[in-house]
């Protein structure tokens, strides 16, 4: 199993993160097969492309902003994300 974690340990980041001090990532693409993905950083993703299958686990921290989601996840995928994102990760059948 793979695990990918995006962390943000910038020392100048305080508890209150504004739009201006977030790192903007134009496109973030993850193909997950029996893997764990953990995104927990003060970042803004313009577009998150996600394909997850075979008991993958997806965790998105509350400080992550996502403008648009293009997600295809298998029904067994465990998703942990802020409530506003939950509807974006609708299960689909992935061959």
């Amino acid at each position: 199993m793979n695990i990918v974690t995006v962390l943000d340990h910038r020392p100048d980041i305080s508890d209150s993160v504004t739009e201006s001090n977030r790192i903007l990532i134009p496109s973030y693409t993850i193909k997950s097969d029996n893997s764990k993905v953990n995104i927990d950083a003060h970042i803004r993703l313009s577009k998150l492309n996600l394909a997850a299958k075979n008991n993958s686990t997806l965790s998105i921290g509350k400080e992550v902003l996502i403008d648009s989601v293009n997600a295809g996840i298998a029904p067994e995928t465990i998703v942990s994300a802020p409530y506003k994102f939950v509807g974006s990760f609708k299960p689909v059948t992935i061959p």
Binding site: V6, H9, L24, Y28, K31, I43
Partner: protein
């Protein structure tokens, strides 16, 4: 002054001066490199190595466990550094940096020993990978951490976390 008082004063002087003398001599020994701290973590810490240009990264860890940890950071030059957890007693594990076309291939295989008929793993490894730009990462059997996204400007990130079909 009584002899007992003199002895008491001498004892007090010795008690307070001895640690001071020891500390000064130890400090001088470290300064003269009689004692060299090779690795504060107790691990086999290999110096950083340079990397040739590449467009993709493929990480091949051990499928049966998660003993390869890869920490990706962004910096000015491409470089890598292995931190090996294996001890001399149990031998070294296989770790290899190679290139296949425009792909940087990182391979790690822990040493496996059979004890009482069961496979045992003695090692684990951590790789610090510093990249000067974002490149797609294809990983198998590894734990990847992308840390310190610096500069406030980042290009697209792409990860393919595949499961090796045995």
């Amino acid at each position: 002054m009584k002899t007992s008082n003199k002895l008491l004063i001498l004892l007090l002087v010795l008690v307070f001066s001895l640690p001071l003398v020891l500390m000064m001599s130890f400090k001088a020994a470290i300064k003269n490199e009689h004692y060299i701290v090779k690795n504060s973590n107790g691990y086999d810490n290999v110096p950083a190595g340079a990397l040739q240009p590449f467009k993709f990264i493929k990480i091949e860890g051990s499928i049966r466990n998660e003993m390869l940890k890869c920490n990706i950071k962004y910096g000015e030059t491409n470089r890598y550094k292995w931190i090996n957890y294996s001890s001399e007693q149990h031998g070294d594990s296989s770790r290899l940096i190679s290139y296949k076309g425009d792909t940087l291939v990182i391979h790690y295989q822990p040493k496996i020993e059979t004890i009482n008929g069961q496979e045992s793993y003695w090692a684990g490894a951590e790789l610090e990978l510093v990249l000067n730009r974002e490149v797609p990462v294809i990983a198998e059997g590894a734990v990847i951490t992308v840390n310190t996204l610096n500069g406030g400007y980042t290009k697209a990130l792409e990860f393919d976390l595949s499961k090796t079909q045995n």
